[in-house]
């Protein structure tokens, strides 16, 4: 039986943005509901500014949501205090995009990797701490001697391994990986993706994997949520998204991925428009302006997620 380990319900997060001397409230996340089953990888895919990163950051409480609920194993994340909060901090962990920026240049790799444990006073002795660091570094494919090195001595791939090591020590339940391989070269990206898949198996991790790269998402995820302008527009099993995309946006997204196959070229010019301004959201479906299927209803009414066809697919579109 599968148990839901993390549940996000109707999450709304907005920011104040100053433009032209005027304050705008930008709804970065506008009513997102997700659930993560123990042991699964849920991919969130979308283009820049779609709010996927904000979802991740809201879960680890780096930003304060306006409304909605986040539950981790039946505890309310947003109102957690004291011991519950500490537990949650140790169980909900994040891997960041930029391996160069996410490690403090003035702290040794060992210190960075052990930070969660140090903050929450997990280690009972120095020896235990050192052992756990060594063990974790080995688990991510780094020599234990890396513990005394500093970030500038490491390559990008090694740093990201260190970043992952930091996220899994001491053992977490859920990893929120925010574009963990986007900054890496393709050859290194494959190594890190493999590592994450290995760790997931070995440690029984659940993962929220955020990326703009549909290939990467398709590779690692069990289920995929597609986000557009702060909302989930389609969610289903990974294969189903890749092969049978339903929402017009998902389809456009899939079509736009450059296939590494010269025989599958997209001919001529494609004009699919650009997303609307975040400061000036349209009233109805945010994709209406670019959508080939657009109808009157789309401009007036925000479509809600509803099941379509088989394999648990849900889509937010009026015209399917």
């Amino acid at each position: 039986m599968t148990t839901t380990i993390l549940r996000v319900s109707d999450l709304k997060t907005s920011f104040n943005v100053k433009r032209s001397g005027r304050k705008y409230r930008v709804n970065a996340v506008d009513g997102v509901s997700l659930s993560l089953v123990a042991g699964e990888v849920l991919g969130i895919v979308g283009e820049s500014g779609c709010g996927k990163t904000t979802v991740g950051r809201s879960i680890v409480r780096l930003v304060q949501p306006d409304s909605g609920a986040i539950e981790f194993k039946d505890t309310d994340v947003l109102s957690a205090r004291g011991q519950t909060l500490r537990e949650m901090r140790l169980n909900l962990r994040m891997v960041f995009q930029d391996p160069y920026a996410s490690l403090n240049p003035r702290r040794s790799i060992g210190d960075s990797v052990a930070e969660a444990g140090d903050i929450n006073k997990v280690f009972t002795s120095r020896a235990e701490r050192a052992a756990r660091i060594a063990e974790t570094l080995t688990a991510v494919g780094l020599e234990p001697s890396f513990a005394t090195r500093y970030p500038h001595e490491l390559s990008g791939g090694q740093r990201q391994r260190a970043g992952i090591a930091r996220a899994i020590l001491p053992a977490p339940a859920v990893i929120i990986a925010d574009e963990p391989v986007s900054a890496l070269d393709v050859s290194v990206q494959a190594q890190v993706l493999n590592l994450m898949m290995d760790l997931r198996e070995q440690l029984g991790l659940s993962m929220l994997f955020i990326s703009h790269d549909i290939g990467v998402i398709g590779q690692i995820s069990d289920r995929v949520a597609v986000m557009y302008m702060g909302r989930v527009v389609e969610m289903s099993g990974a294969r189903s998204i890749l092969d049978r995309a339903a929402h017009p946006y998902t389809r456009a997204l899939m079509a736009a991925v450059p296939r590494p196959d010269p025989s599958q070229r997209i001919a001529g010019a494609i004009e699919t428009g650009e997303p609307p301004s975040q400061f000036n959201r349209p009233a109805g479906c945010a994709y209406a302006a670019r959508c080939p299927l657009v109808s009157e209803r789309c401009r007036a009414e925000v479509p809600q997620l509803r099941p379509i066809g088989a394999d648990d697919k849900v889509v937010a579109c009026h015209n399917l």
Binding site: L62, R89, A101, N104, S112
Partner: protein
């Protein structure tokens, strides 16, 4: 600092010979200050009214002043004052600036108010601020440090605030926060260690400008008590003799220039070594 850290800090000097010269000049100053009693040929306080205002010669290399005191000896002893004032001002600026700046960056709402107060203080020309403080507190070395330091405290606080704001937005700080770190942890483990390098740059500039500020105060007769040898005091006293004994003006002035120049060289070299993200924080003030 690890050995690696030391080489890291030495590289900018090795790469730039002129900065190395600056470093050597500063070292010479420190030596002069530390070993003044052995290096100075005469007692800097000894009064010989008969041989006053003597031009430089073999006996008195830098000549003598209106009390007949040996200018070279006084110049050497003055290095103590220069280092004391410089270090004091830097310390004062940092001790006040770091808590205010870091605190304001971490607690934006209160920080905003604090920074506005700093802005208010910045509206006062630093020398006037120093003058006022000196007159209030009375002239003494410690008060000179406070008076000059007050002027640099504002700019330093601003810089620290700017740096801390950037550091607060760093991904590794976010990472730490996502793991539940408190303010203390963030400050001690993440912010302060990363402030060290840019603050070293700031320190060298403040040190340099403190020399000039102290000299100005001394010149206006409101700096260190005039019986204490300092380059500024020497200049202030010799001003009357500008035509009669120009050498009295030259040597202490050159000492100030040399010190400030060397510090600026060092500061520049350190700044160029700095993370480019932090570099522009210093653009306003040279």
């Amino acid at each position: 600092m690890s050995r690696d850290g030391i080489t890291m800090w030495l590289t900018p000097f090795l790469a730039r010979p002129i900065a190395l010269i600056g470093l050597c000049v500063l070292l010479a100053m420190v030596i002069a200050a530390a070993f003044a009693p052995w290096l100075a040929p005469y007692d800097p306080y000894a009064i010989h009214p008969v041989s006053r205002l003597m031009p430089p010669d073999a006996v008195h290399w830098f000549g003598t002043d209106q009390f007949g005191r040996d200018t070279l000896s006084r110049a050497i002893y003055s290095a103590r004052m220069a280092l004391l004032i410089g270090a004091g001002v830097v310390l004062f600026a940092l001790i006040t600036g770091i808590p205010i700046g870091v605190f304001s960056a971490l607690f934006p709402r209160l920080g905003h108010v604090l920074m506005r107060m700093v802005d208010v203080l910045m509206a006062f020309p630093s020398l006037l601020l120093a003058l006022g403080l000196i007159v209030i507190l009375g002239p003494s070395v410690a008060n000179s440090i406070i008076a000059i330091g007050a002027g640099y405290m504002t700019t330093t606080t601003r810089i620290i605030y700017g740096l801390a704001l950037r550091l607060r937005a760093e991904t590794y700080v976010e990472a730490s926060r996502s793991m539940g770190s408190g303010t203390g942890w963030l400050v001690v483990k993440h912010i302060l260690p990363n402030l060290i390098s840019p603050l070293l740059v700031q320190a060298s500039f403040v040190f340099a400008f403190a020399q000039l500020g102290a000299a100005s105060l001394d010149f206006l007769g409101l700096g260190a008590p005039p019986d204490i040898p300092s380059w500024g005091n020497m200049l202030a006293e010799s001003r009357t003799f500008i035509t009669r004994a120009p050498w009295l003006l030259f040597f202490p002035g050159m000492m100030i220039v040399l010190t400030a120049f060397s510090l600026n060289l060092v500061g520049d070299a350190l700044r160029d070594r700095l993370d480019p993200r932090f570099r522009d924080v210093f653009s306003g003030e040279g």
